[in-house]
């Protein structure tokens, strides 16, 4: 984990220098954030701060607006009103692709790209215009209990749990500052869930990765240290 930390720190520092941002206690500051589609208000005047390095569990009933809020934070959609700051600057002021490399979003039911697992694990390198680093990739595969033989496997030859772990590695090979996971353990068996928990805990504790985890899983909610609850588009 340490080797990766070194490379990721320089990456993060370069990003911060580029945008002239400093380390703040609050990595996100949201003020009166709203999102509506037509007449329907999905998020209503959300104001909250998210501290750097925290592992926050976002809970609430289905349709309460959790995923919408996470997608706004990941710059996948934009709020219709209010202000969302990342490291003290408006999310919209960052170049979107650079921002998404710092605030990475992992989906509930990911699709694997191309034909092989390599196509997927190479993607973060292609995005950054870097050479594929096989040693680094093997090390990351080992973090999620997979070995080198997976690199050349067909995307059709992996189980649901393996697919989710590989998809998660796409987000983590170049560690971001924030990782948003949207119900990534839903439908996984206990063993796969534990592997996912383990890698997220390691990155949070060893690298200070801020994690926002949306979940409906009772055991995950019970174990959560920090929680945000959203109901009817509002923080309660």
């Amino acid at each position: 984990m340490k080797d990766n930390s070194m490379s990721s720190i320089s990456d993060v520092e370069a990003f911060k220098n580029n945008y002239g941002v400093n380390d703040l206690d609050n990595i996100f500051e949201l003020t009166n954030l709203s999102y509506q589609v037509g007449e329907k208000k999905i998020l209503k005047n959300i104001s909250l701060n998210i501290e750097q390095g925290k592992y926050i569990t976002v809970v609430g009933p289905s349709g309460s607006g959790k995923s919408t809020l996470m997608r706004i934070l990941a710059s996948m959609i934009s709020a219709t009103s209010g202000e969302a700051l990342f490291n003290g600057k408006k999310i919209s002021s960052y170049e979107p692709t650079e921002y998404r490399r710092r605030v990475s979003y992992a989906f509930q039911q990911p699709t694997l790209f191309g034909k092989t697992i390599k196509d997927n694990l190479e993607f973060p390198y292609i995005v950054r215009g870097k050479e594929f680093d096989k040693d680094q990739v093997v090390k990351f595969l080992n973090y999620v209990n997979l070995d080198e033989s997976y690199i050349n496997k067909s995307v059709n030859d992996v189980s649901g749990g393996e697919k989710q772990r590989i998809a998660l590695l796409r987000n983590l090979i170049f560690p971001p500052e924030v990782l948003i996971t949207d119900e990534v353990t839903t439908g996984l068996d206990t063993e796969n869930k534990e592997i996912v928990h383990s890698i997220l805990n390691r990155f949070n504790q060893d690298d200070g990765l801020t994690i926002l985890r949306v979940t409906h899983d009772d055991s995950e909610i019970e174990q959560a240290m920090d929680k945000i609850t959203i109901k009817n588009g509002e923080v309660v």
Binding site: A74, S75, M76, I77, S78, S92, P96, T97, E98, R100, R101, S104, Y105, A106, F107, Q109, P110, T111, F113, F123, P124, I126, V127, R128, A167, R170, N171
Partner: protein, 257 residues
């Protein structure tokens, strides 16, 4: 030319063929009699007007008039291709650029190589052939692109979430859309002479031209259509895909069907 014997009276007798289509439609209760009659009347009126205009343009043999005809064909083809964009913003403008560039490059190459001369009776029909072919190709590109963005929006979202630029996120769709525009031309080339004797070659043979000479023209037309559809598909796809994103490089869900 002496073999061509389509006079007004033979054309009127030829109307029997339309009646056959109408009878089949009525007998099988296809409810297409109105469409057939409107289609035939429109074809007669449009072709008659175009015939007289072409006669005037060819007789005048004026560069500016020929150019004006070129512009009218290109704008008309772009308008129709734009309509096939089915909600893609600026589809007309993109089609206009793609058809203009495709037609100018292809036609320019033909004139430059001496394959055709810059005279109205050659420029006008070749412009029509090239522009209509690009128009069909662009229509296919737009349709494929819109469908692919809809079908694969989840994968695109994931690529964007990993920090991919919109071009990288759309690469597969752009590639497939260009291919879908070119595919009919490539497919028709494969069966040339085996299944179909294409319009231009058939027209020349009917007009009494030596079939071997007619084939040379057809080979040239094949090269021309291949080039024009590739240029048109390439330009239109690379301009249109950006419309599926907003300025924050987010997927524009309003465009997905």
């Amino acid at each position: 030319m002496s073999n061509l014997t389509v006079s007004n009276s033979t054309l009127a007798l030829g109307f029997i063929l339309v009646i056959i289509a109408l009878v089949i439609g009525y007998w099988q209760k296809l409810q297409i009699d109105k469409d057939i009659i409107i289609g035939v009347v429109r074809a007669i009126i449009q072709l008659t007007i175009v015939g007289y205009i072409l006669k005037f343009v060819i007789k005048a043999n004026d560069v500016w008039l020929t150019m004006a005809f070129f512009v009218i064909i290109v704008i008309n083809a772009s308008w129709n291709a734009g309509k096939r964009g089915n909600g893609i913003p600026k589809a007309f403008q993109f089609s206009l650029l793609a058809i203009s560039v495709g037609t100018v490059i292809t036609l320019g190459t033909l004139v430059w190589t001496g394959s055709i001369q810059f005279i109205p009776e050659q420029i006008v029909p070749f412009t029509g052939m090239i522009a209509s072919n690009i128009m069909v190709a662009i229509g296919l590109c737009y349709r494929n692109m819109k469908q692919s963005f809809t079908d694969r929006h989840q994968q695109i979202l994931e690529k964007l979430a990993l920090g991919a630029d919109i071009k990288l996120a759309s690469e597969d769709i752009i590639r497939e859309s260009i291919k879908s525009g070119m595919q009919p031309t490539i497919d028709s080339i494969k069966t040339l002479g085996l299944v179909a004797l294409p319009g231009m070659m058939s027209g020349l043979i009917i007009a009494g031209v030596d079939p071997v000479k007619a084939i040379k023209y057809q080979i040239m037309v094949t090269f021309m259509l291949l080039a024009s559809t590739s240029i048109g598909s390439f330009i239109s796809c690379y301009l249109a895909y950006k419309q599926f994103y907003n300025e924050q490089k987010q997927l524009n869900s309003d465009l997905l069907s």
